[in-house]
């Protein structure tokens, strides 16, 4: 019964989908940790700059704010509260996460959107994987990141991941896929990704997806 309620709750609430980033998802996972990052993404002949912040009250509760800018104009900001349940066992750490969110009409409009996503991610010294399912208004999607990490033992690490993002909406369906490269140096993170359509029956989608981000956590 409990699971059925969760299912219908999740299926009936929309969510704003944004790409998963190391800052926000992986860090900060410590009490009173915080971080900022900026991302530039290019898709559909449009470039969006995201300014994002995160505060972690405790490992299981954090808050994120993401503000998009398109051609210098502020878009609709997204406030979210990722709730995570971590488990640490030997050389494995994993977490289940449920993230309610709200998209606010900071672009001057009047529309508010509520959202929810459910995700699972795990990591060992060599392997990272993330699975996320979400809905957003008329959009429903799945995002998968799987790949390897290469820590150098001196506070930095490379991640090479493969990303698959599938989305269904009123305008059609599409599946984007491509490589992701992540580099950490102590508390600084850089992430670049490039995805191409593997399946494109979406009337509103054109071309590839490019994203580059840099952030820092404390």
């Amino acid at each position: 019964m409990k699971h059925s309620i969760l299912f219908f709750l999740t299926a009936s609430v929309s969510i704003t989908a944004v790409a998963h980033q190391p800052i926000m998802d992986m860090a900060p996972r410590w009490n009173n940790g915080y971080g900022v990052q900026t991302r530039v993404e290019h898709a559909n002949s449009e470039t969006t700059t995201w300014v994002e912040g995160v505060y972690t009250f405790k490992p299981s509760v954090r808050m994120t704010l993401k503000v998009p800018y398109v051609d210098g104009e502020m878009g609709n900001a997204i406030l979210a509260v990722p709730l995570k349940r971590y488990t640490n066992e030997g050389s494995l750490t994993y977490n289940w996460s449920i993230t309610p969110s709200v998209r606010m009409p900071t672009d001057g409009g009047n529309d508010w959107d509520a959202g929810l996503s459910v995700s699972y991610s795990s990591e060992t010294p060599g392997l990272y994987q993330l699975y996320d399912a979400y809905t957003l208004g008329d959009k429903t999607g799945i995002d998968v990141n799987v790949g390897w990490s290469f820590p150098d033992g001196n506070g930095s690490s490379w991640f090479t991941l493969w990303d698959v993002s599938a989305q269904d909406s009123d305008s059609g369906q599409r599946v984007l896929t491509g490589p992701v490269l992540v580099y950490f140096k102590r508390n600084v993170v850089m992430r670049a990704e490039y995805k191409v359509p593997a399946y494109d029956h979406d009337d509103e989608w054109k071309g590839n997806f490019i994203n580059f981000g840099i952030g820092i956590v404390y």
Partner: protein, 132 residues
Amino acid sequence: MFIKTLAIALLYTLLVPFSFAQNNSVDSQEIATEKTHEITYEKTQNNNYIVSVHGIVCELCSYGVAKNIRKLSFIDATQADNGVKVDVENQRIFITLLDNTPLDKAALFKAIESGGYKPIEVIAGSQEEEQE
């Protein structure tokens, strides 16, 4: 439609074990607490200790743990890596204490837990001794 069905199915699949994961995590915390009381340690001549920590496998994610430990009053921040070095390959943390300062195990473990990880045990030793 296919993707939508698949997404909802994945959502449900992820939600079902969510509550179980919560229960497991509580158990893990209880186990860690029990182990904390069992651990003994002894002061070494060179003030170096090795802490085993479950789940500490990521350089970025462990930044907060190292930061928390460096704030402890008995850590010697003048040493290499400011007295704290995380070994993500083997899930260990190497720490160096100030001279004539005892190790406060409870404070150390609390710093690690507030960083999101599970401390298991602390023993005397250093990274250099491990490599020999």
